[in-house]
Symmetry: D2
Amino acid sequence: MMRTITLAGLLLITAGAWAQSAPPPSAAKQAVVQSVDRHAKDLIALSDEIWAYAEPALREHRSAKALADYAQRKGFRVERGVAGMPTAFIASYGSGRPIIGIMGEYDALPGLSQKAESAKSPLVAGAAGHGCGHNLFGPASLGAALAIKELIQAGKLQGTVRFYGTPAEEDVGGKSYMARDGLFNDLDVVLSWHPDDRTRADNMSSYAMVDVRVEFYGKAAHAASDPWNGRSAVDALELFTDGVNLMREHIRPRSRMHYTIAAGGDVPNVVPEYGKVWLWLRDSQRSEVEALLVRVRKLAEGAALMTETKSAVTIQTGSWELLTNTTGARLIDRNLRWLGPITYTDAEKAFALAIQKENGISEVGMSDVIESIEGQETETGSTDVGDVSWIVPSLGFTIATVPKDAPWHAWPVVATSGMSIGHKGLLLAAKTLAATAVDLYEDPAALQAVRAEFEKKKGSTVFQAYVPPGPPPIPK
Amino acid sequence: MMRTITLAGLLLITAGAWAQSAPPPSAAKQAVVQSVDRHAKDLIALSDEIWAYAEPALREHRSAKALADYAQRKGFRVERGVAGMPTAFIASYGSGRPIIGIMGEYDALPGLSQKAESAKSPLVAGAAGHGCGHNLFGPASLGAALAIKELIQAGKLQGTVRFYGTPAEEDVGGKSYMARDGLFNDLDVVLSWHPDDRTRADNMSSYAMVDVRVEFYGKAAHAASDPWNGRSAVDALELFTDGVNLMREHIRPRSRMHYTIAAGGDVPNVVPEYGKVWLWLRDSQRSEVEALLVRVRKLAEGAALMTETKSAVTIQTGSWELLTNTTGARLIDRNLRWLGPITYTDAEKAFALAIQKENGISEVGMSDVIESIEGQETETGSTDVGDVSWIVPSLGFTIATVPKDAPWHAWPVVATSGMSIGHKGLLLAAKTLAATAVDLYEDPAALQAVRAEFEKKKGSTVFQAYVPPGPPPIPK
Amino acid sequence: MMRTITLAGLLLITAGAWAQSAPPPSAAKQAVVQSVDRHAKDLIALSDEIWAYAEPALREHRSAKALADYAQRKGFRVERGVAGMPTAFIASYGSGRPIIGIMGEYDALPGLSQKAESAKSPLVAGAAGHGCGHNLFGPASLGAALAIKELIQAGKLQGTVRFYGTPAEEDVGGKSYMARDGLFNDLDVVLSWHPDDRTRADNMSSYAMVDVRVEFYGKAAHAASDPWNGRSAVDALELFTDGVNLMREHIRPRSRMHYTIAAGGDVPNVVPEYGKVWLWLRDSQRSEVEALLVRVRKLAEGAALMTETKSAVTIQTGSWELLTNTTGARLIDRNLRWLGPITYTDAEKAFALAIQKENGISEVGMSDVIESIEGQETETGSTDVGDVSWIVPSLGFTIATVPKDAPWHAWPVVATSGMSIGHKGLLLAAKTLAATAVDLYEDPAALQAVRAEFEKKKGSTVFQAYVPPGPPPIPK
Amino acid sequence: MMRTITLAGLLLITAGAWAQSAPPPSAAKQAVVQSVDRHAKDLIALSDEIWAYAEPALREHRSAKALADYAQRKGFRVERGVAGMPTAFIASYGSGRPIIGIMGEYDALPGLSQKAESAKSPLVAGAAGHGCGHNLFGPASLGAALAIKELIQAGKLQGTVRFYGTPAEEDVGGKSYMARDGLFNDLDVVLSWHPDDRTRADNMSSYAMVDVRVEFYGKAAHAASDPWNGRSAVDALELFTDGVNLMREHIRPRSRMHYTIAAGGDVPNVVPEYGKVWLWLRDSQRSEVEALLVRVRKLAEGAALMTETKSAVTIQTGSWELLTNTTGARLIDRNLRWLGPITYTDAEKAFALAIQKENGISEVGMSDVIESIEGQETETGSTDVGDVSWIVPSLGFTIATVPKDAPWHAWPVVATSGMSIGHKGLLLAAKTLAATAVDLYEDPAALQAVRAEFEKKKGSTVFQAYVPPGPPPIPK
């Protein structure tokens, strides 16, 4: 297969620019790069396996097992089914401080099945696909943890490394449950990365978000013969959404509210006794999200009062805004620049261009630069990494694994995540994670600086998860 | 003038059909008919005077004075400014029981000024006009009271007669304040009539109604620079009206709710801190109106809750549904049939046809029959006579004073109310009122039967006015 | 009572009284009653079989087969799968005129599974149940057709009898497709009945109805990062329903509009590109339904214009108001009174009372009278018999098969339809259908009178089905 | 770069410091300062006179006359009633180029009458007041023009000076009509200023805006007896505003839409045949405002379609976003720093503190610094100077005339505009305007630089006024 043939080429990432602007990379740092190269074949195989499984949120049974089994085979202590989720696990090695975590995701997206080809073509019609590249995410992170484990085992580094298998990022928010249950509490730092169309250390926040279910309960009646005896839950629902839309003028321009009508009556000839709105509230500040939530509760209560129905507002999930760590971003940025951008074969370049042509976007191929950590704007999207970032300094970055400007959560991401373009990203991600971890193990001052920034920004805030008490919503 | 020239012709109303189906009209009954004819010139002059004044609700100063002065000149005891309204008065004569009241209205309608001509032509552009024929109403009723007074004075009848000058029927509801203040409490029966396009004794109910002011109080802010600090009273208002419209599916088909937006913000660049809806609720049953009002209060409260504003729901006025009295309707019907329908001159017929042609309606002229008391449907409109009808048996009828199917509250009513067609109606109305009063004075069994039906229908209900405590809203 | 006596004896109640005021029941009429009794065991077994199948609309494969097979075994010519519906069939016998049809239904309702017990207890949780008693409907009608077939076969009656197996009354409207395809065109009369809580000949109309799907097509966008690039189909949907609710003030009080929100977006973080409302419009007059539909089309078009989306309004099904036939109702009424009301055992009475107690309604047991054909009010519900009634005179009646005032489309109907109370109703229905058919076969004047009333009421109207061209929506 | 060179100088506030970092103020510049001081008494008297008149938009008859008469007395050629507005005028002196305009406003705000006292106390209850300080604006600008006129007359400067008396800034937008009619077309530069709570040269844009009237025309009917024959204009209005609010999710966060309901029906018992919304659309980009307007037209059209009414969308006024001129801002800034901030007496300081105390805001007194031209954010408000700024380079600044953070368009502004705090601001404004004009007359390079920036930013855009053709809406 083309994928294995090009494997050799993947290993040629060099590190020229480093020497000029920073201390020369330590032996340990050189070692982790070599480790990733040494396990590259395994990691790519794991990625391709998970890509083929394409299991959505909280259904990642085979994907999680593949990763956990690999970790176990490689000598990690593995705890499976943590935080009430059968597909969440933690693989640990070493002892004592520092304790550095590396997170990996592996859930797919419904309906996005696609072959590793440059034109839209489902692998299995209607099935899920890795439209967010999480098949690369898990193996890269585990590969980094493995590289560190080898150095600890060899006595070259002191401390503990932990790989967090974090399911359900696309829905529910697996990390939020793990955060709620305290699984990150004793970490010194946590690292992660994400596939993207560009390569850079993250130095931007994301939006805080709550995901709420707003339900109304009315009284049924025959809509033709005695509608006056009915009290419509859908009337309440419509007033509620009217209220949301009127409220839009009176929220800060940066805030976002968006909803769907998840239940709006069964059959027309019955006055509906049940209605449901699914609503997300977001803002760059968690405090504002909470202020919006207070108002949304009033909207629901008022709409119920107006229609003589009952309402219930339930938080389903949510995440805090990401707490950035510029000190950490600089460490990552330095490692990215040392490792350098990926180079692509002509075939890969053609693949990327073909995808861009298919999508009617600028045919510029893959991004081939390391972008700056300066001037990054807050992401209006949300992530469950946000929750983790208020418990432990969370450092992250993105690696270009898809053509520039390709639509996200869409078939092009599935396509490149299943072939050499994605594989190259996986390896660069693993090396960057491991190299940054080495910095933190080897240089107590660096670790201290990262934590100092974290403590200062966090202040006295104590994380409290938006996800409700009780077990996660495991599908049956 | 044509109006005075035709006066002689007005007096020729004969009474042929009576003998066959009822006891022969008493001498007293003959006398009241003659009395009305004797004062016809005065009554018509009063009507024309009030028609020319055309004073709207609670501004009927000259109109009320003209009537009260006439009554005083004719020997009535006159109490002016009753129930807190400068334009309300009571003119009494006699003593002891029975006490029979006759009500008269005299308020005009804004914007309906019109000459006594058969094509649209305002007398004074933009001014008020008697588009409901109340200029005929007051004088006819006073004429009937005068006829009775003469018989009491002559010792031919025993008891008391009272003319009620009841202002502001078109707005506010003058009778409702008089009812609230107990001015009808000691009556045995009250009589009234109304101009119409047909002649018949009333045997139908009307809708109960409340007139409410729904106000919202928000918080102003600059709509461009910090709308998020504002809480819009108009948002609340819009949710309120949305709620009213959603509620329409869940009220009985016979109920009516209608509103206007009376205040919806001053200038666009300020988030409005005040909003007002003017709402009427109606149903054939007062209990249902009250049930609607309970729900409307919830609508207002809920809309305020949803928008973080304050609400206030204030009853401005309202009236109960009319309590019919079929026993009384039969008395009136018998007198109408005795007095017979009005006959019109060729000029009058042509006048009526011309109006119908102008309005694009069927050119059938004036109604010339006494319609039946059977099969009358509830009127969806409302009247302050409704309130009176729960305190004292209230008998009424309509007299054709406008062409068949002519639009009401419109120029054709003003036109015919100012010329001989209206004058003939006035005289027939006065005679019918007086003749029916004679029946009640002379025949204790008839009076008793009327009251028995009233007591039975009313049951233990005790009237409570919808109009609020405190003085009526007298304009400044 | 006096009123019925003066109605030329039509309404005299017992079979004994029949002789006095009407021709004695013919031998043929006696024979059909005996035939039903002779096949009672078969008919009840068929009913119980269909009750157990409980197959919903257009899925009644086993139910239709049971009935069609029985008809075939009994000597009818059977045509299956008519009008494009696998579960529709026609069973015929005889030749020449008159051709009399008898319709039978057999579809169940989703979610109403219930044992034949007097307390709520599903037979199969979540499964369908005969909550409208159609398991009784089909066998009774077929039993009546069989009784007539025997007489034709025996040369006692001349003409043709046809049983129409009409599926999907509860949804889609099977008869509407059969009517559209002309399957009733050559009939002289059609008969049917329906289970109910009371027994009487139908002399009331039902509401005309159209069932429409209103769809909106917008443009998706990320709801957090660029909602300004999206055009929400749900915005359009909400404006559409706002429009419906505002319109309620401006339709006749007797009209009905009711809807559900069938699709209102998938996930909150995507601006919805699709929305669907499911709407029914009803009125006692088809012309008014059509006027409403014109306005609804404008609502959809306007809502799309306002939101820069596209709309589509599609008629899914619909039915005309029922054309009553009082001449036919009198025939049925006479037969019902001849056959007399059902008598129940103590156990059956207790069963009925227990159901009423369970439902918190008046514990009065089963209705035991034949109610009058006078004073029946238009049913605000709709039926696909309405369509048939504009093609051929359609005579019908109801038989009490459930306790008085028991909730319809609910478990009590399933319960009594599966035990002796329902069975007794089935037999009375079969006898009444057959006896009325005998009247029409034997008495050309009666048939002629029924048709004359039909022709007069129908006038020149030519039936056109609301159901769209093309095949019925057969589930896969 | 000049910017960094001059930056040092900017920070040195006194006129003494000027010499070190910039050319010494010319004799002409010294002369204009002396001129303003010489006429100070006149200018303050004019200001107090206009303050006392307090005439609102397009009613500034006495205010305009006072200024125009003064100009005429001082030797200007005065053209009154320009651009169709009786209260607009132009006063000119000199000939040839450059032609420099100076604009002055003088309209008051309804309802803000206030004495020149530090606690709320209306001068004339309910009357207008100078809540935007325009009584200072006009005289200061005219004083500057007079200073220039004296130099031209004395042969010290070459060219033409023009004072523009621009009415109705608070409503309608007088400058927009003057711009539409080409009255600014031949200018080289135009100068203006505005009272404020801080002193600085303007270097920020403002929002473009259109002010539209959205009207609906329905069909009246009696709301109780036949509402089904009515088509409510208020229904249309409500759908329209619903549409605006739904649209809020789908516009850029920086855009603003705000409205009031200006007409929402007369009396509840009539289905309203007329409804009016008053709507403002704003964005920092005129193109976006126009895109919003296109959508608003669809909202109105769709709402009318949905309700079977008619709609009309009419632009009443509007203004373009302000085209900034940083070159000009630097000239002004230099002059402001030369002239220095105002110093206040103890009494004035106490007056300012008392106002702040009354308003519950920070008691910091008057601003006493010249603020920077760097980092100014776009003003979300709009101004008719925006229109002018696309025709001719428009330079402006603000002078502190009210206490820091005092509410605008409120009584504190009226108070300080009527006493010495305002007067001091007036004089500094006049001097700054005149000094900046001197720079432009004396230094062709400076004028050329200002125009070059203007031409570059404007590009090929040709101004087209939002105000409609035809006469301005002069009140009667």
